[in-house]
Amino acid sequence: MTYPSLREYVNQLEKCAKCGDCAYSVKLTTSRKPISLPCAIRNVLGFEAYDARGRIIVMKKLLEGEINVDRKFLDWLYTCTTCANCKETCLAVPGGLDTPSMVEALRKDVVNQGLTIEKHLSIRDATIDEHNPYGEPHSERRSFLKGEEIPKQAKTIYFVGCTPSYRQQSVAESTVRLLRNADEDFTLLKDEWCCGSVLLRLGYEDLGREVMKHNIDEIESTGAETLVTSCAGCYRTFKDIYQKMKVEEGSNLKVLHITELLDQLAEKGRIGFSAKKQARITYHDPCHLGRHGGIYESPRRLIEKVKGVELVEMKTNRSYAHCCGAGGGVKSTNPDLANKVAKERIGEALEAKSNLLLTACPFCKTNLTDGSSGLIKVADIVEYLAESMSAVKPEAETVVRAGVGATIEDEFPRYLESHPEIFVDLVMDSMLDFATFNSWNSFDKGEKPLNVFNVRRTQNGIEIRTGRAERADVALNFSPDTIKDLVASGDRDEYAKKFGRFYNEPTETKWIDFILNKSTKTLIRMGYGKFAREAGILEEE
């Protein structure tokens, strides 16, 4: 057998130094990152072959001709959820070694040479015949509407997806209710087919692209400007594949996940939420939306906008959140394994002492529910938001929302907004989180900050928003007393000197600490070095 697709990754295979971080790392204290044994599959199956290091060793042996592809090999190949937690954790190359893509490349190679798992054939055939992997009648795709009329043309398309159409219809119903409540002008595709995600994940790339071509033609016929999905898998497929295809063709179609759109609508005051009863909610980041799509904060901002709700984080969260176990074809190929992985994730939700587990993917919801054994309620975020819609819509928020309060930490964004020169050296779209903690111990223990906002470098200066940035380069952390001194600075020079002093010579009440989410080399190249030098952080006078 030949493996042309996998061979494209030979350089990456060679870059693996087999450090084992992808399987074993627990960086909760040693790096203050929410990383704990990243590979959800390895954590359940136990053996090295199931984590990224083991997979890389095996794939290298395969290319060297030491291993043959047989049924057992195929079973192994389809145990990876391609969740990319290994990639996120890997520091060997910028962005991490892309083991999920290597796995998918190998799946493509084996499929192209006629090797496949029987169950995948029925999924493939169902997706071709009925345009959904479940094999449900295509004619039933819009049944969740229960006869409701939808405009034929609109600025926004709601791409429903197969799971909300056939298995989690309340996700589709809730999405429609939310969009209507916010007076969003939306339509559905006249003839929506599966987005192709399942085919791509299983290795049927050519068939996947055929399916996509149909959807692209459908989308074009609507003349819409925005496509929104309530399924994280569809979102990734559109964002990853369709948008790239369309960019080549010059289209301006904007792809959003429903949480991004609702976040924007809520910010404009077009929709508001209030909990029916007090809830302690934790949020599971779907891999397709988080690691593959880069969306972590929109869902969290939405949950925090629901009055009467406390959002608590699980031990692993955001870019290091454990996978639910369903993705990459694992749920269809090995449902027991998927359930076991889900049970582990449910354990994290219980450990966080939450009473409601929300996610933003109907497939994650299905799997987490299967793994929950009734120990915790699991819902999709749109279901929860739809039942928490408030009759009274809030006022639109200003850009510097945090700057209207009376506390010193509220003064900080206002000060920074009036001193954009502090950020002038940074490349466009650089992002920083600013968080205030009562004490260094509170920060060190990973407790919830008093206040968080983020700053993005823009063409016109800076933009400040509440909450964390989706992918901050640096997370800066301050005490209230530090901020009091900083906001009294007359100019950048004074601000930088104080900043450096609080970092280099911290006291119990005045300190600055930071977590770097990119390598120091990368940060210096992005322009952070100049300020750090002025602050005396990179060198002292």
């Binding site: 130094a17 087999k18 290091r53």
Partner: protein
């Protein structure tokens, strides 16, 4: 040698079907560590959770004379934990990762030896304690048992010594399946609080044994209160000689929790490029971490570091590098992988010999034109214990077509380091070909006799150390 169905079934009855495998993909995935050295794939991999399981497995292996290779996170860069002979039972100890007891009376922690250092640090941190030695730089995956088996030196070693210096007692499963506890653990009722007690220091026989004498199942380590005073400082120097002298003086004073030196511009370029841009005159640098129970003590010690560095013409560079590395512990080396696979020559030596060794290495690199051959290198040193240092000179293979050149330079470097009085702390396949021809025969003869007594059938990690 293959594991027969009968033996497989026996092993399976001990650990359960989900913890044993002889599938090809699984066996191959255990056939490498983080080194470039070749290995045999094991015949079977067994994941153990309890000491009693290890003991039962060893009894079977001893009866059948099956080779056994114990392994932790296999982040070793010396080729130590991978099988040298075919047909081995590989014991995957990473599931033995529990903290058994934190004893606040005697300030000790007893752990199962498969626990990763980063996990242990996290669990102790939650209780308000820290370790002395924190783990190797690969401490995300590196296990306590692995480090104790290969004399690892790494984070925190400047004040506390290497991994083995932290040990008070071990629980071991011998090749014959007997379980023993060392130190004060000889007493069935005493706590494991002291290493040197009543009899010979049996603990020391097993430390650094590369898994050849016993399977380490539990270790009792010293713990300390979390620090309340922290200080960090980077210093740059225009001459290697001044840098080493300042480094030596600080290590003699016993101030640093960790003092880590980058020995030339190339090395600074790999880890702290920014200093070269802003301070082109700097030839080498070191980073100092200070941890104390009180902030006033930490501040005073930092001031002493400033004075010592200044005496040798050092320039204070702030604290960014030190903090970035110390507060992101165990993530320093991974970004270096982008420069190519690593070929290390990690060893220890007196600090007084460091300058000459570095200069000799640089001369070798110039002579061999390693830059032109696409190789990169990093030269670094860590203060260790009282009062020596590691010397870490590592080559990165940027261009695989020049592998033969790299092998030649790497071999010369290792020889040169041994000839100038260096000694490896870990051995593995990395150093064995260089140290075995040099070892004192009387010493080696005792080592062989100990092996033959403790492991009469020579089943534990055969061929390691040439035994």
């Amino acid at each position: 040698m293959t594991v027969s169905k009968g033996i497989y079934d026996e092993l399976e009855s001990i650990v359960g079907s989900s913890n044993i495998s002889n599938d090809e993909v699984i066996l191959y995935s255990y056939s490498e560590d983080s080194s470039p050295f070749p290995a045999q794939k094991p015949a079977v991999v067994v994941r153990v959770s309890e000491t009693s399981e290890v003991a039962e497995i060893m009894k079977i292996a001893n009866r059948m004379k099956f080779p056994v290779v114990p392994a932790g996170g296999r982040s070793s860069i010396s080729g130590a934990p991978i099988p040298r002979v075919p047909g081995a039972i590989m014991l995957d100890l990473t599931n033995m990762d529990k903290v058994k007891e934190v004893d606040e009376d005697t300030m000790t922690v007893t752990v199962q030896c498969g626990i990763r250092w980063a996990q242990l640090i996290h669990e102790l941190n939650l209780k308000g304690y820290k370790l002395g030695f924190r783990g190797p730089y690969g401490g995300n995956a590196g296990t306590v048992g692995g480090s104790l088996s290969v004399n690892t030196v790494g984070c925190g070693a400047s004040k506390w010594g290497g991994a083995c210096n932290s040990v008070l007692s071990l629980e071991l499963v011998l090749p014959t399946g007997e379980v023993i506890k060392t130190g004060s653990g000889w007493s069935p009722i005493a706590k494991r609080f002291a290493r040197y007690a009543t009899f010979n220091d049996l603990t020391g026989i097993f430390l650094g044994d590369h898994g050849t004498l016993g399977v380490k199942t539990e270790a009792t380590l010293k713990i300390y209160p979390l620090p309340k005073g922290l200080a960090y400082a980077d210093y740059g120097f225009t001459s290697l000689s001044n840098c080493v002298n300042a480094f030596h003086e600080l290590q003699k004073l016993g101030i640093p929790e960790e003092i880590n030196m980058l020995g030339d511009k190339t090395s600074i370029g790999l880890l702290a490029e920014t200093y070269l841009e802003s301070l082109p005159e700097i030839e080498c640098a070191f980073a100092v971490v200070i941890e104390e129970i009180d902030s006033a003590i930490a501040e005073r010690k930092k001031a002493i570091c400033d004075e010592v560095a200044k005496k040798y013409g050092g320039k204070a560079l702030g604290s960014f590098l030190t903090r970035a590395l110390w507060l992101d512990m165990f993530n320093m080396t991974q970004p270096l992988f982008d420069s190519g696979f690593w070929f290390n020559t990690c060893h220890i030596r007196p600090i007084s010999t460091l300058r000459e060794t570095i200069e000799d290495a640089q001369a070798l690199f110039r002579k061999e034109k390693v830059n032109e051959k696409g190789m990169k290198w990093i030269i670094s040193a860590l203060g260790v214990d009282r009062c020596f240092c590691t010397c870490w000179i590592t080559l990165f293979e940027g261009d695989r077509s020049k592998h033969a050149d790299l092998e030649r330079v790497w071999g010369k470097l290792k020889e040169m380091e041994l000839e100038s009085g260096g000694v490896p702390y870990w051995t593995g396949q990395l150093w064995e070909p260089h140290v075995l021809p040099r070892v004192n025969q009387g010493f080696y003869s005792v080592l062989k006799r100990i092996k033959s007594v403790v492991d009469p059938n020579s089943i534990l990690h055969p061929s390691t150390f040439g035994l």
